[in-house]
Amino acid sequence: MGTAAIQSSLAQTRDGIFVEIARLLERFRAGDTAITSETVIAEDLTMDSLQVMDLMMELEDRFDVSIPLNLVPEIATVGQLADTIYASKAGA
């Protein structure tokens, strides 16, 4: 299996999705604090509301899913975000 294929199949698992989100969130990391499943998106990262919406758009394209805006207020942590995308992919 090539690197791209491995990455692609990894992105299908819950943990793979988390790793990918954490990579995309790198630029919003506050100081040296690592991004974990418990990281609260609105509080522990340096993102404003618009950046959160833009991130969702980026994730929609990365994983080819819809993340409706209605769901965003219910997604508090990075772990919940990974769960939402995983559930969305599983349901697709």
Binding site: D48, L50, M53, E60, D64, V65, S66, P68, L69, N70
Partner: protein, 407 residues
């Protein structure tokens, strides 16, 4: 936690902005002299941020119509259309607008904000989808919150991105309503409407266009972007406002949909607020008649747009990509933008300060809006003052330096 504690961040940001010397969101106009001039802090000030595109706020016919209607029908309706009844003038305005847009139906709302709030929250419901441009006005975002449809956001003015997002929900059974704006109020750019029409047709979606900033501004007769692009027939719903080119306040929704009238007893932002006062209905009817009789008002507006846009462009400012009556000067640093805004005010020029996240992509803007009633001298003065302040703050380089650098 106290009642207002969650506004801590907003308070801090607002405080930092006010540190420029004045509150950009709390300007007091002592006197309005004309459509293009006010007195602020004792200073005669050119108004270049009022969205008063056709300059009709002091038009003698519009003022007289409002006065007469107050005499004849009183100062207010004191209630909603469903409770206190529609006045003949409400119906007449709806007929005027339906005729203007060549559509069968029209509903008038008390504000433009409520027109979007009502239309978008009511047209789609549970199980349906509303797909909105990422840079949509607050009224569109709020409509999505009020309604119960699933909300999807697509990249600004990007029909390919809309297509991709509609494709992801292609197998979902719900209705799909796509919402775009004629002219976007912050950057002044406009939607690629023909391309959006093609995408909505491909996916069997409905398309709503908010012509708030483009009515009385674009198209041969002033219907807006849909007229300019020649896609009137393909637009399912049009919303707009009377608070820009019409010089008053109020909003509307027009459509050919055969079941349209049911909205009058289903649309809460229409049903549960007092209707437009007779004076404003009358002045809007007069403004619309004026636009229809004098489309050359738009020629004057666009001539003025050329003057300001090219003046600021020549001075070296970074402006919105598409030329129009909203001329947005980009300033990367919000604090610097606030200082520039205050500098303009002190020199007798009023524009809007727009800051992220109300603006796209983190840019601060000195947002100017052009009026048909601006004189060339006024716009030259505005250009000169913005240039002077821009040089003082280092927002632009001195002309001679820039020329030397280019050589």
């Amino acid at each position: 936690m106290g009642l207002f504690d969650r506004f801590k961040t907003i308070r801090e940001v607002h405080g930092a902005v006010k540190a420029c010397g004045a509150d950009p969101f709390g300007v007091k106009m002592d006197r309005i002299v004309s459509a293009t001039e006010a007195v602020i802090e004792g200073r005669h000030t050119i108004l270049c941020g009022s969205n008063n595109y056709l300059g009709l706020t002091f038009d003698a016919d519009c003022v007289a119509a409002a006065q007469q209607a107050t005499q004849d029908f009183g100062t207010g309706t004191t209630g909603s259309r469903i409770a206190n009844g529609s006045y003949s003038c409400h119906k007449a305005l709806e007929t005027d607008l339906a005729d203007f847009y060549g559509k069968k139906h029209c509903m008038v709302f008390t504000t433009g904000y409520q027109a979007n709030l009502g239309a978008i929250s009511t047209l789609v419901g549970p199980g349906d989808f509303v797909i909105i441009d990422a840079d949509s006005h607050a009224s569109i975002y709020d409509a999505c919150k009020l309604g119960s449809a699933t909300v999807i956001r697509f990249r600004h003015n990007d029909p390919v991105d809309l297509d991709k997002r509609l494709q992801r929900i292609a197998n979902e059974p719900g209705n799909k309503l796509v919402v775009v704006e004629g002219i976007y109020s912050m950057l002044g750019d406009h939607a690629p409407l023909k391309e959006f029409v093609a995408v909505k047709k491909k996916h069997g979606a409905y398309l709503l266009v908010d012509e708030a900033h483009s009515m009385g501004v674009m198209g041969k007769t002033g219907r807006g972007l849909l007229e300019q692009e020649g896609v009137d027939e393909d637009i399912d719903f049009v919303t707009g406002t009377f608070s820009k080119s019409m010089g008053a306040i109020g909003g509307f929704l027009v459509s050919d949909h055969p079941d349209f009238e049911i909205l009058r007893v289903a649309c809460r932002p229409y049903m549960f607020t007092a209707s437009m006062p007779p004076s404003l209905v009358a002045s809007v009817r007069a403004s619309l008649a004026k636009l229809r009789a004098h489309p050359e008002l738009m020629v004057r507006l666009w001539r003025n747009v050329d003057t300001l846009y090219h003046g600021l462009e020549a001075a070296g400012f970074k402006l919105g990509r598409q030329k129009g009556p909203v001329v947005a000067v980009h300033i990367n640093d919000p604090a610097l933008a606030a200082r520039a805004w205050h500098g303009l005010l002190q020199h007798g020029v009023y524009v809007n300060l727009a800051l992220p996240p109300a603006t796209p992509s983190g840019t601060a803007l000195l947002r100017c809006s052009v009026c048909a009633a601006h004189s060339t001298e006024q716009l030259q003065r505005v250009t000169d003052v913005i240039t002077k302040v821009g040089l003082e703050l280092g927002l632009i380089a001195d002309q001679s330096v820039r020329i030397a650098a280019a050589e």
